[in-house]
Amino acid sequence: MKRQRKMLAMVAGIVAAAMVLSACSDPSNPADETTSAATGQTSSPAAGTTEASSAADTAATSGGTAATSAATTGGAEATEGTTGTPAEAGQAAANATGTLNLFMYQKPNGFFNPLHGASGPDQEVISLVYEPLLIASPSGALVPDLADGTPTISSDAKTFTFKIKKGVLWSDGQPLTSKDVLFTYTRAADPNMDLSRAATLFSTVEGIDDFASGKAKTISGFSTPDDQTFVIKLTEPNVGFLGQIGTIEILPEHVVGKLPIKTFTQDPYFAKPTVGTGPFTVAEFKTDQYVHLTANPNFRYQVGVKDVFLKILTSDVATQQLQTGELDLTNIAPVDLDVVKGFDGVTVDTIDTAGFVRAAWNQSQKRFQDPKVLQAFLYGTDRKSIVEGAIKGQGIVRNSVFGPPWQAADLNDYPYDPDKAKQLLTEAGWDSSQPVELAWISAGNPDRDAAAQVMQNQLKNVGINIELKQVQASWIPDHVSVGKFDMFMYGGGDYTAEPASVIPITSCQEPGKGPNNGLYCNKEFSALLTKANQENDLAARTKLYQQASKIENEDPSQMWLYSPKSLWAVGKTFQGFQPQALANSWFEPWNWKKAS
């Protein structure tokens, strides 16, 4: 959902300043950041994609009877949400000690503003300073953070009611109220702001058109019956909406409410935001060196660490500094796993993610419109050997656009079967004289280099002539984004807990007019997705997605390759770290401790 939100945020980039947009991409690898930028979860180039682990049930999706049943997700954590040792106002930092040095894989844009759009490094800071109503837990489930319990959804899936935790203070001592939520969401939709989401994320909110056109000063679909309650009304059922909106971090109206709207996302205030509800506030941002954060004395729980430094380093330097103890945490690539495991006093935590590597076929080309051809690509490639070789077994073969909970149990996993591939190609009348150009960004992605080689060698045996083409990021806008390519391999992230987020990337569309780069078009599939997003009953909704996953399994939207694990190397004195399924966001960072 965060990914979805950010994706929409980025889509809204149409109205954004170029500089703002710049926020979203990894310079070396924009294609890879697509999904991740979409999610605001850019992943470390070294470590591959690190996204939500399992797209567990979304808090948003259950519902049931009239505006009562709270959305629940698996396990007790779902209703409890984030926890810690409660602290008296002003005393949260009293016992905070020590300094943590964490790896930041790329320099931030320096606008630590949740409404700015998606840039992974900036998001790492944002998620220490601000908090959303709902947050993804390490298992990928959405759990309450600033929200007091899970929100309620009306039976028609058009009204959502959030309760906000009592007694939450901003770091300057002011209380957090539902007015701050109203301010944040309204500002996010403001058409005068660089990155308005009026036309995208908020398009189904009641009264959004009047607000966007300037007819109304407020959005009638948002209301605050009291200081702890925030209600959203939609014009049409949109179950996936809750998960998408709930993860937007809330801003302090009393501090940032007066900043100019037009340049809000890039206001200099956000280079050093001093007021948040999160466990830390920014003390210093030393361009290109580090971001220094200090414990927030008014946080609602005890904060364990006094100072946190996010250091901007290359992965090589980070690995060195992990060894010298100058760094407490870094992402590592599967190829480095054995080396790092040998380091004295360093442990490696791995977590499944739903990040993935896939190749899009350009399905506007007639030859890629026959599902038999697409299946032949899958049968003709030994994807298991790619997992073993390219990512040293640190991941799994992927087979669906959906995360595991939304996949049917009996999906075809396309085992390596060159004979079957040949047969399918013959049936489809495949012309093996026509080469297929497979493009990818090589820099920083040794796993993809290996995968491309394997594909070329193995597919040659079944009569598919792959030509390899390593490209630069600059190749993408003129080719991938506008349908001028054969195949393009790139990384991406999964739909944290919200399967509705696959709608934009699988809906029929013309080249250059949307995010469906492969120009996949399956009307039956799209119709099922629409239906599922209106279904408030979790079981029924899951069933619809599973049905859809069967269709996409037969008629693949992309050539699914693998989902790598996320690998974290943690120094021995860093305690309380929980690897987060979502890259670039932290879970309960107030429980971190630095042993001396």
């Binding site: 994706m7 980025m10 947009l21 710049s22 010298t324 630069q472 250059g512």
Partner: protein, 319 residues
């Protein structure tokens, strides 16, 4: 001499303008629109292309290249290098932040390189074809043939990881703001830059000293009763110094590229890492400004070297 200087200066200015035109054109001809590149392909909408076009128009990127060039150069003369396309900050501010660490690294590296080259080059020359000369030659050849980044990585492994004597990277320990700490961070990068830069210069110093040592005036000086040490210091060294200075001036551009490499090994927040970042994003204004600064540096050091050269060798006519 004055006329020569003027002519030489005029041609330098002319060359500078030609370079600006070439660089400006090349950078703008590079594939990849910096605005389109900011929008990942998974996030296109029906309005994205209109947005890109509008933004290009707003930034003037849709105008003819000569017009863009004239606008840029006009602003550049007033000290306005434009705004970064990527984050909207003034280019002069971005460069300003980065130039100090690079200059710090370059100047200290240069001083070290000169000291090493003069001391060991002279020593080798004086002890020509003896064991000291061979040892010095061996090490200087080794340094010339080993890339600086490799020496850097080895040094980090030895001094930071194994011996834990020195910090592995960066300009300071996070949260520490002391001079001692800053100096500690300087040791490895400066030493390695100085070492790699010194090798070539050392060979040159040795050569220049040897040719001076065998010059006739030396025999005369010895004949009139000077000690050998006195001759080396008072006459030989002084005479050799001028061609050496010329070479040093020519070395400055090389020093910059050396510093850029060392910066990436040591996570030194200077111009080197900046230009790598910005190149990947096709951030025209920053790249152009960097190219221009480099051009100025190269042209100026060549100018200085040429002028010095004419001073050394009167056969090069000041015409």
């Amino acid at each position: 001499m004055g006329a020569y200087l003027l002519r030489r200066l005029a041609s330098t200015v002319l060359v500078f303008f030609l370079i600006t035109i070439v660089v400006f054109t090349l950078i703008h001809l590079a594939p990849g629109d910096p605005i389109a590149m900011q929008i990942p392909p998974d996030q296109y909408t029906s309005a994205t292309q209109d947005f890109i076009a509008a933004k290009r128009h707003e930034l003037g990127l849709d105008r003819a290249l000569p017009i863009q060039y004239l606008t840029w150069i006009g602003h550049a003369f007033t000290g306005d290098l434009g705004l970064s396309i990527v984050n909207g900050r003034p280019v002069s501010e971005i460069i300003g932040e980065r130039i100090v660490p690079t200059l710090e690294l370059m100047s200290l590296g240069m001083i070290l390189a000169i000291v090493i080259a003069l001391v060991f080059g002279t020593w080798a020359a004086v002890r020509k074809n003896r064991i000291v000369d061979y040892v010095i030659t061996f090490f200087s050849m080794l340094t010339i043939s080993t890339p600086g980044f490799f020496i850097g990585i080895m040094a980090i492994y030895l001094f930071s990881v194994k011996l834990k004597l020195l910090p592995s990277a960066g300009m300071s320990t996070t949260g520490v703001h002391t001079t001692a700490d800053a100096l500690k961070h300087l040791i490895l990068p400066v030493t390695i830059l100085g070492l790699t830069m010194s090798a070539g210069l050392l060979r040159f110093v040795r050569g220049a000293m040897i040719s001076e040592l065998t010059a006739d005036y030396q025999r005369t000086a010895l004949a009139k009763g000077l000690t050998r040490g006195g001759v080396v210091v008072k006459h030989v060294f002084r005479n050799a110094l001028i061609p050496i200075l010329t070479v040093i001036a020519y070395m400055i551009p090389q020093l910059l590229s050396g510093a850029v490499l060392i910066e990436s090994v040591f996570a030194w927040p200077g111009m080197g890492s900046m230009v790598v970042d910005e190149a990947a994003k096709n951030d025209f204004p920053v790249l152009i400004a960097f190219a221009m600064l480099t051009a100025i540096l190269v042209l100026l050091s060549n100018l200085v070297a040429d002028v010095l050269y004419t001073l050394v060798d009167p056969r090069v006519k000041l015409r």
